[in-house]
Amino acid sequence: MRPALELRELRKAYGPLAVLHGVNLSVPTGKLVFIIGPSGSGKSTLLRCCNLLEVPESGAVMVDGKDITLSGVNLNDLRQQVGMVFQSFNLYPHMTALGNVTLALRKVQKMNKAQAETVGLEALARVGLTDKANAFPGQLSGGQQQRVGIARSLALKPKILLFDEPTSALDPELVGSVLKVMRDLRESGMTMVVVSHEMGFARAAADHVVFMDQGHIVEEGSPQTIFDTPQHPRLREFLASLGQR
C-alpha cells in the first residue's frame, strides 16, 4: 500500500549549516512513527518540512503519492490534510477554545458559524474539553491548551497529524492527559508523526521509531529493537543519557 507520507532524499540547510543530509522516511497509513534524537539533530526541521513550514533545498515530500514540493501545489489545501501540533501550543489568545478550533473551518473551509461550531465541538469532545469551549487559552492549563491545539488540527479532518514535541512545555502531571488523547487518536487509525522525548510513550504506542543524529537517520525499527537492542553507538549513547538503558 502507498505510504501516507514519504520523504525522499530530503535536504535542508540554513545558509552554510546543513540540517538534513538527504533523509528518507516512509510513514504508512494509520501508523504512528516516532522520531527521537538529541537536540539539533534535525527532527523538528524534518517534521516542519512535511507541511512545508520549512521548505527543503532538494528532495521530495510525498503526501498520498503526490510531491508537495513541486510548484503549483496549493499549500493551503495541503496544510488542511497535514495538521500540526506545536510545542508551545500557539493558540490564539484572543479567541475562545471553540474560536480557535473553528477559525480555519469558517475562513478556509467556508463553513457557516453553526456548521463550524458543530464540527468544532465534536473535535473538542474528542480531546475531552467540551466543557471548556468558551474558555480563553489563558484560563486553561497547559495540558488543556495543548488538547485544544490538537482539536484545532483535528477539526480539519487531516490525513496526517504532525506533533512537534507536544508535551515538552508541560508540567509533568499534565503530560498524561495529552498522551492519552494521542493514544486515542492512534487507536482511531490516525496517521501520526511524533517528535518527542516521551520514551515511555514511544515504547507503548509507536509502530516505528526513528533515531536521528546530525541530520541523518542513524537507525530505525520497531520500538523493541530500538530500545532493547540498539545497534549504533550514537543511539546507545543517547538512550544511556536518557536513562533508558
Binding site: 493551503n76 496544510r79 508551545s88 500557539n90 490564539y92 477559525l103
Partner: protein
C-alpha cells in the same frame, strides 16, 4: 472715576478670568471654534489611523522598495514638527500651484504625522506577535492575508491601544496649531476673543472646552484597553 472703590485682588482675578458678561458675549464663537476643532480632530484621527494601518500592513509584506518609502515617510514625518508641516503646506505649496485652505493644510499635516507614528506603532505591535501565531494559522491552511486579518492584527491592535491613544491625543491637540494659518479653531477663536475683550475669560473658556473635548477621549482609551483585553 476716583469715587469708585478700588477692586480687591480677588475681584480683579475673577473679573479677568471668570467674567460672566465677557463669557456670554463670546460663547457662540467659541462653540463654533470647538465644533471646528472636533471636526478637524475626527478627520485627522480617521485619516491618520487608517493611513498608518495601511502602511504597516504594506510594510509587513516585505517588499524592499515599498518598505524603503514607508520607512523614509515614517522617519521624516516623525522628525518634522507638525507646525513646520502645516506652514510648508499652507505657505510654500501655493508656489507649486497647490494652494489649499487652512483647514486642508492642518488636516493633511496632522494626518501625515499621525500616520507616521501609527505605522511605527502597529508595525512594532505586529512584530511583537510570536512567530508561532503565524505558523499555527498557516498550518491550518489559512493564507497570509487571512492570518494577518484574523490572528495577527486583532492581537497587535489590542497591544497597541495604550501607545496609540497617547499619540493620537498628542497629535489631535495639534489642531491648535491651525491658528497660525488663521484657521478658526478653538485656540484661535478664544485668543482673538481675549484680545478683543481685553480680558482672559475667553482663554479660560477655551481651556475648559479642550478639557471637555479630550477628557472623554482619555477615558474612552482606557475603556477600550480594558474592554478588549482578553482574559488571561
Amino acid at each position: 472715576m476716583n469715587s469708585t472703590v478700588p477692586l480687591s485682588s480677588m475681584d480683579r482675578f475673577v473679573s479677568s478670568f471668570f467674567n460672566a458678561e465677557v463669557a456670554a458675549r463670546y460663547v457662540a464663537p467659541i462653540l463654533d471654534g470647538m465644533l471646528l476643532t472636533i471636526g478637524l480632530g475626527l478627520c485627522v484621527i480617521a485619516t491618520g489611523l487608517v493611513l498608518g494601518l495601511v502602511l504597516a500592513v504594506l510594510r509587513i509584506q516585505h517588499v524592499k522598495l515599498v518598505n524603503a518609502f514607508i520607512i523614509a515617510f515614517a522617519d521624516i514625518f516623525r522628525a518634522l514638527p507638525p507646525l513646520v508641516v502645516i506652514i510648508l503646506l499652507f505657505f510654500a505649496f501655493p508656489y507649486i500651484e497647490l494652494s489649499m485652505s487652512a483647514f486642508t493644510a492642518t488636516w493633511l499635516a496632522l494626518s501625515l504625522v499621525l500616520a507616521a507614528f501609527t505605522e511605527e506603532i502597529f508595525w512594532a505591535g505586529m512584530l511583537a506577535i510570536p512567530k508561532g501565531q503565524w505558523e499555527a494559522a498557516r498550518s491550518t491552511g489559512m493564507g497570509s492575508w487571512g492570518t494577518l486579518v484574523h490572528v495577527i492584527l486583532p492581537q497587535a491592535v489590542r497591544m497597541t491601544v495604550p501607545p496609540l491613544t497617547n499619540r493620537t491625543i498628542a497629535i489631535t491637540k495639534g489642531t491648535a496649531l491651525g491658528s497660525v494659518v488663521a484657521l478658526h479653531e478653538l485656540l484661535n477663536v478664544s485668543s482673538s476673543a481675549s484680545s478683543e475683550a481685553g480680558n482672559a475669560t475667553p482663554l479660560v473658556m477655551g481651556a475648559v472646552a479642550y478639557l471637555i473635548l479630550f477628557i472623554p477621549f482619555v477615558v474612552l482609551g482606557r475603556w477600550v484597553e480594558t474592554r478588549f483585553a482578553w482574559k488571561r
